[in-house]
Symmetry: C2
Subunit: 324 residues, 2 copies
Amino acid sequence: MKLLDIFGLLKKDMDYIEKELYRSVQGEQKLLSETSLHLLKAGGKRLRPVFVLLGGKFGTYDIERLKLVAVPLELIHSASLVHDDVIDNAATRRGKPTVKSKWDNRIAMYTGDYIYGKALEMTAGLSDPAIHRILAKAMVQMSIGEMEQIRDFFNTGQSVRNYLLRIRRKTALLIAVSCQLGALATRAPEHVSSLLYTYGYNVGMAFQIQDDVLDLVGTEKQLGKPPGSDMKQGNITLPVLYALQEPNLREPLLEEITRVQHEEGRASASDAIGMIRQSQGIAKAEALADRYMKKALDALDQLPNIKTTKNLRDIAHFVVKRTH
Amino acid sequence: MKLLDIFGLLKKDMDYIEKELYRSVQGEQKLLSETSLHLLKAGGKRLRPVFVLLGGKFGTYDIERLKLVAVPLELIHSASLVHDDVIDNAATRRGKPTVKSKWDNRIAMYTGDYIYGKALEMTAGLSDPAIHRILAKAMVQMSIGEMEQIRDFFNTGQSVRNYLLRIRRKTALLIAVSCQLGALATRAPEHVSSLLYTYGYNVGMAFQIQDDVLDLVGTEKQLGKPPGSDMKQGNITLPVLYALQEPNLREPLLEEITRVQHEEGRASASDAIGMIRQSQGIAKAEALADRYMKKALDALDQLPNIKTTKNLRDIAHFVVKRTH
C-alpha cells in the first residue's frame, strides 16, 4: 500500500478499514467467504476508502460512520472487478489468479453478487437517504459503463466523447462519489462535498486516461501484465482514437486492429502498439489527462486550506502517474 | 396474470406496478433498457409484488410507498433469474428466449447488475433503515443460495436439511420478505409483519418443493420446458433425495444420475425420472410441502380476519399447485 507512504496519518484507520473489509465478506457460506477473501487479499490501492477518509476530514471525522461508506465502496469496486474478469476472460489480476481462473465463471458471477449484497448490508447501517441514493446511482452508472465497454469492443468508429462518457461511468463516478460521501457521512458543508465530488471526478478521469496510456507505453514489469492488453481484448482507448485521426496512420492501424480482432488473442498487438507509440496519440491523451488534473486541483484551491487539502493534491499526483 | 383472476381487487394497482416495473429499467443506455425490458416482459406471476400489496392492506395502504418495495423486489427476483440463466445455460424461460441466448452471457451478466442497481435506486426513496437492512440481507442470502446450488450440482450425498436450507435462501426468504415489507412500508403493527413473514416463508418453501416435484411429474406443456430439467442440470431435489433413501432403488438411481452427469445434457434423464416416479419420493416431498402449507395457514389464522387474509389463503393454494 505505497499510497500511504505519502502520508502516514491515515495508516491506523486504513488498517482498520482493511480488517473490516475482510470481516465484511465473512459469513456462513465457506466458498463465498473464500472467493471473496481471495479477491480482496489480492490487493489494490484501496483508493476509494482513502478518498472517503480524507473526505471525512472536512466534517466531524468519525471512523465508525466513515467505515459504513468506505468498506461498501471498496466492495462495490471489487464486485465490479470480479464480474469484469469474467467478461475479459482474465487469468490474473495484480499478478494473482482471478476468481474465475482459480474457480470458474459461475462462481465468479455469484461472488460478485454476494459482494454487492454485503456492500448494501453495510450501508443499511446509515439512515441518510441521500447516501443510499448516491450509491445506487453510482452502481447503475457503473453497470452501464461496463455494458458500453462490451458494446464498443473493437469499435474503431467511436468518438472521443464516447470514450470519455464510458470512463466517466466505469471509473470516475465511483471515485467522485467516494470523496463526496466521506464528506456527507461526516456532515461537512454542502459546498465542500460538492467540491470534493468535482475533485474526485476529475482525478478519476485523469487516472483512467493515464492508465489507458500506460497499457500502451508501460513495460510488463510496470503493469503486472503484458502491455497492449486493452487492445487485445478490443478496448479502444483514447490514444488509439487520437492515432486513428492521423491520415497517414489511419488505414494501416485499422488493418492491424482488425487482424488482432480476428486472431482473437492469439495475435500479438505489438505492431498496432508500435504505430500508436509513434503517433501523437500518447501525447494528446496525456494533455487531456493534464486538463482533468488541472480541474481537480482547481477544485482543491476552493477548499479550506487544511493539511488534508494538501494530501489530496499529493494523492492526485501519485495516482495519475506520468509516463515521462 | 392468472393469479389475479382469484381476486380482482388488486388489478388496477398491479397494472400500475407493471408499468412502473417497465419504467424503472428505462434509461439512457439503449441496450440495457432493451435487455431488461425483454426480461421483464417475458412475464412471470409477479408473486412478490402481489404479496407486497396484500401485506400493505394490513397497514395504511399507500400504493406510492408500496411501489418502492414491490418494484425493487420483482427487480431483484428478475436480476437473479437472468444470472441463473447464465449458470444454467438456459435457452428459454417461460417459453421465450433468455437474455443470454438472445444476446450473450456477458450481456446477461451486466443486465443483472444493472437491474440490481435500479432496484436499489428505487428503494433509496424509502428512509426506513429496517427496510434497507431486510432487502440487503435477502440479496446476500439469495446469492448464497445460488452458490450452494452450484456447489451441490450432482451431489447425491447431500442431506434433506441441505436441500431445505438451499431453497430457503433461493426462494422462501424473498417471498417472506415481500409479505413483511408490504406491512412494514405501510406501518402495520410489528406482530402483523412478523406473522406475514412466517406465512410468506412457509408458502415459499411449499412452493419450491412443489415446483421441484412438478419438474419430475409434469408434462412439457404444463412446465413450458421439458420435464427433468433440474436433474439434467444436476439440481438434486427433494423427491430425488427421498428416492435415494430407498435401499432397492439407491444403486440403480445413483448409476442413472451419474450417467446423466457424464453425458452432460445430451443424455435423457427419463430413466432416472421413471425410477423416482415409482418411488415414494414424490409422495413424501408433497407431504412435506403440505406441512409447510399448514404452517403458512396457521400464521394466517392469527392475523385479523379481513378479506385480505382470505386472499392470502387463496393465493397459497393457487401458488402451491398439487399435481394430483
